[in-house]
Amino acid sequence: MLRVTLAARLALIGLVGFIVVVTVLMGIFYRTTLQENELTRPSPARLDALATLLEGTVGDARQAVLDAVSSPQFMARIVPSGAPVDGETPERQRQLRETYAAGLAGRPVEIVSPPDHRASRLFPRLARLMANAIEFRIGLRSGDLLVIDAYTRLPVTQFGLPVGFGAGLFGSIVALLALLVMQRETRPLARLAAAVDRVDLSADPPPLPDARRSAPEIRAVIAAFNRLQGRLAEMLRARMTLVGGIAHDVRTFATRLRLRVEHIPDDAERQRAVADIDDMIRLLDDALLSTRAGAGGLSQEMVELAALVAVEVNDRHAQGAAVDLVTDERARDVVVLGDRLALRRVFANIIDNALAYGHAAHVRTALKDGAVVVSIGDEGPGIPADQRQTVLEPFHRLEKSRNRATGGAGLGLAVVRSLVEAHGGTIEIGAAPGGGTRVSVTLPVFQPV
């Protein structure tokens, strides 16, 4: 659908209204001028008198009479020979002809629309209509033909302007004023939209400015929005408190449980119980982190990203995992503004995924267009192109079985994405050269001013 701004819509409404006003006024104008046309058209009696006068004169006297009666609106001339042709009159003028024939005491008369000498070559019909010309051809009893061209010119007002111009001007001004008023009325809405975009619920959201001079409806919208904003912020705070409280309590119970499982006599069983508790806490930490990321609750500090990635790689390398790291020389001292713990979770998660599903992790850190790109490639089967986006959704995993042995609860990549996005970065899943998966995380580099 074509998107038209509110202002444009209102402009259109104004334009349409203006056109309606002009049309109505033009209609009225033409109705009245048509009636005037009847009056300005030479009356049959006048033509009869002129014909009689001309029949009684000859030569110079006849020319004098013609000069005396002629005017730009009424041009009379004598054509020495020829007779009016009857029967060619169009239906529209037949009645007019009857009237004149009756008034001219039986003289043959023909009414035609003359070819106008000022007629435009482009719009001959329109020009004729404007001139409102009519030609009478009257057969005189003396055998001559009297030709009268009658014009009704466009009437003008006393200011020298065509009638209707004032109305048009008035309509235009009204439309213009309406446009300006509408523009003024819609401005608070535009401001509201901009303010809604700026809203950051993590801090106490500042209330939107009340547009005191706006329409009550718009002020109501702004007030309602302010209330909604307050409620959202409160809800977010309540959710943070709830998640934080749950996390604390679950951690307390998990600590007790962790201390209690020490009494499990079977070694293997105890190991599994400990692993369960660890997974549970990791899931809880992830949920807490992503909640904080969503609420803007992450801390911001200067993090040497290359060093942070190196620590994650070295930890796994020390445990015998197939992981290697290449850091671009220029990316070595790059600083990112972010939450150290969250960034560690991001890279730990991606590297662990690569190791779990792709048997190896090849980590590359490089600078690209003022951003730092960390890409982690693996040697696994890869992810089909159409599924690359969906693996970033919560609780999605490629293996449909929710088998614990091959991974966590599936919250991983979704949390990773929300954390990366909270840092103003992007995460992309592509193909590694060997056919495996390559996950690239791009983060903006911090430049102190």
Binding site: L257, E301, L341, V449
Partner: protein, 240 residues
């Protein structure tokens, strides 16, 4: 050294965790006393001199961080911190608090035992150094206890700061390379009762900035972060 006879004071508000840890440590041959908060700890310390304090970070009333700081200022009792939030670890064992080690909840008893033994071994070998609160950054050395700032290699080594400016700088130095919001800065420099005088912080910071920049031109130590707050960009090292 006989670590098996050592006395441990456990400050933890959850009685079950206290009991489980105490049972385990007693089986390992330690003397264990348990208290639930800072107040109880103080009265216990009147009667008992523990060899080590296991301190929970989240406590009702006075929180673990403040207790840790207090213990460190008074005495040289080794401290093992129990934290729930792993993001607090940096601060707990870092410049500010001076805890000897930490454990993240949930922890296993064997892990706890290993940490406790390691701390006791270290403590018995060399008496723990009193917590020095002298830090070096850029061309400056700040001593939080003597309340002085010196500029190395300058004609007038002593940097003259007002009390408020010193507190502000101290706040930055103890939390370097971390974005601090105005509210946080107010919290840490003026205590909890501070009213939100945003402008005061801004003015104070611009004055401090001018003084630091005057003593070390072009250092640009305090950066304003878009809609975040302020960031102390220097690397801070503890010095003796």
């Amino acid at each position: 050294m006989n670590a098996q006879a050592a006395t441990i004071l456990m400050v933890e508000d959850d009685p079950e965790i206290s009991r489980l840890v105490a049972d385990f440590m007693r089986r390992e041959g330690f003397e264990v006393a348990c208290v639930a908060d800072g107040k109880a700890m103080d009265s216990m310390l009147q009667r008992l001199r523990p060899d080590l304090v296991i301190l929970d970070l989240m406590l009702p009333g006075e929180d673990g961080l403040s207790i840790c700081r207090r213990l460190r200022a008074d005495d040289a009792i080794p401290i093992l911190m129990l934290t729930a939030k792993s993001d607090e670890i940096d601060r707990v064992v870092g410049l500010e608090m001076g805890a000897d080690d930490y454990l993240t909840k949930p922890f296993g008893p064997r892990e706890l035992l290993a940490r406790v033994r390691a701390i006791l071994r270290r403590a018995s070998g060399t008496p723990p150094k009193p917590l020095v609160r002298r830090f070096a950054f850029d061309r400056f050395v700040i001593d939080l206890d003597a309340r002085s700032v010196e500029t190395t290699g300058a004609e007038t080594p002593e940097l003259q700061l007002t009390s408020a400016e010193f507190d502000l700088l101290g706040c930055f130095v103890q939390r370097p390379r971390r974005v601090l919001t105005r509210d946080q800065i107010l919290d840490w420099t003026r205590g909890r009762s501070a009213e939100p005088f945003d402008r005061t912080v801004d003015m104070l910071i611009s004055r401090l900035r001018r003084k630091l920049d005057g003593a070390s031109p072009g250092s640009n130590l305090i950066t304003t972060v878009r809609n975040g707050g302020y960031l102390f960009t220097a690397t801070v090292k503890q010095v003796s």
